[in-house]
């Protein structure tokens, strides 16, 4: 199964064009054009929501976080370096504010948002799957926040290490190291279900 690419994430090849487009929009916003900011919202809303959902794990919280992040971006747009793409800057705001929101709402249950058809290995029966999910959930909870986010964004959402690095202000190599560590920890607890294939 191929993880889906973020819906509106700009392709890496178009980075220069993306930077130019974002810079033009930001310039218009700074000049007082609200429509340009609405355009930025439309361009980055889906990707931002995806990241927000990964950070807070709850749909309504993700929507609140998304709104808060866009408002903060609008408020502090003067500090944005227009020679860089807008997306990673916005995602950093989401990651930072989301971490605070997540800490403040730890009692809230993570919403089950599975998209209908299960993607788990079909060889496992229902009780095994339930047990595996419980173990994997516990294993995820023991990961450092950053590693949990990285492995989810990479292996579930299909983001690249460069995109994740820009978002979390990490070098791509550092992202890959966190990914490696997270995968190793998760694989260790899953070996009894899927076998050690390494």
């Amino acid at each position: 199964m191929t993880p889906p690419a973020p819906p509106t994430a700009p392709p890496v090849d178009d980075r220069a064009a993306t930077v130019a487009r974002d810079a033009a929009l930001v310039q218009r916003v700074r000049a007082g054009d609200d429509g340009a900011f609405d355009e930025l919202v439309r361009l980055y809303m889906r990707q931002a929501f995806q990241v927000a959902f990964r950070v807070v794990g709850h749909r309504e919280d993700a929507e609140d976080l998304l709104q808060e992040a866009f408002l903060a971006a609008h408020q502090y747009l003067d500090s944005f370096d227009a020679s860089r793409p807008f997306g990673p800057w916005l995602m950093r705001i989401i990651a930072n504010r989301g971490a605070n929101l997540r800490r403040s709402r730890t009692r809230r249950q993570t919403e089950e948002e599975v998209d209908g058809v299960s993607t788990a290995p079909s060889a496992l029966d229902e009780s095994e799957r339930a047990e595996m999910r419980e173990i994997l959930t516990r294993a995820l909870a023991t990961l450092p926040e950053r590693q949990r986010l990285i492995v989810t964004l990479f292996d579930v959402d299909g983001m690249t290490s460069t995109e994740i690095g820009e978002m979390l202000e990490l070098a791509p190599g550092t992202v890959r190291w966190h990914l490696h560590e997270a995968r190793r920890a998760l694989r260790a607890v899953l070996t009894r279900f899927v076998g050690d294939e390494e």
Binding site: M1, Q50, L179
Partner: protein, 138 residues
């Protein structure tokens, strides 16, 4: 659960290029964390636009927009004020000290001022009294 890029020690080649996707681990993780739900994008965009309009009207937002510039400016203005007061304070003190220095009545009489006038001038400089007629009482 394997990657196409394997390091000699059996893990990913974290110093090389982009690691391969682990589709199986991804599927298992997706089963646990779920996939991001579809949202009502139009409603969400409207909500953000409305909140932005509200934000613009608030004085907090206005202050927030200026805080990055206002804080250094306020610090600079404060320093400038302290320096100005300090700088102005020195001559002012000196001037004040000079103002209360009694005039020299002897020098005034040598220059031809009547003794009475010299005495009154001296008394005025000491007491700052507008009408030193009380001197005559002594």
């Amino acid at each position: 659960m394997t990657d196409s890029r394997q390091a000699p020690h059996g893990g990913e080649d974290i110093f090389g290029g982009e690691p391969a996707r682990d589709a199986r681990l991804g599927a298992l993780l997706a089963d646990v964390v779920g996939r991001p739900p579809e949202a009502d994008w139009h409603a969400l965009a409207e909500r953000i636009a409305t909140a932005r309009t509200r934000q613009r009207g608030s004085w907090l937002a206005y202050a927030g927009r200026w805080e990055r510039r206002a804080i250094p400016v306020a610090i600079a203005a404060g320093l400038a004020g302290v320096l100005a007061l300090w700088g102005l304070g020195m001559p002012a003190t000196a001037r004040a000290t000079g103002a209360v220095t009694p005039s020299d009545p002897v020098a005034a009489m040598v220059e031809g001022t009547p003794a009475d006038d010299a005495a009154r001038s001296f008394a005025r400089s000491v007491t700052s009294a507008e009408d030193p007629s009380f001197i005559g009482a002594y």
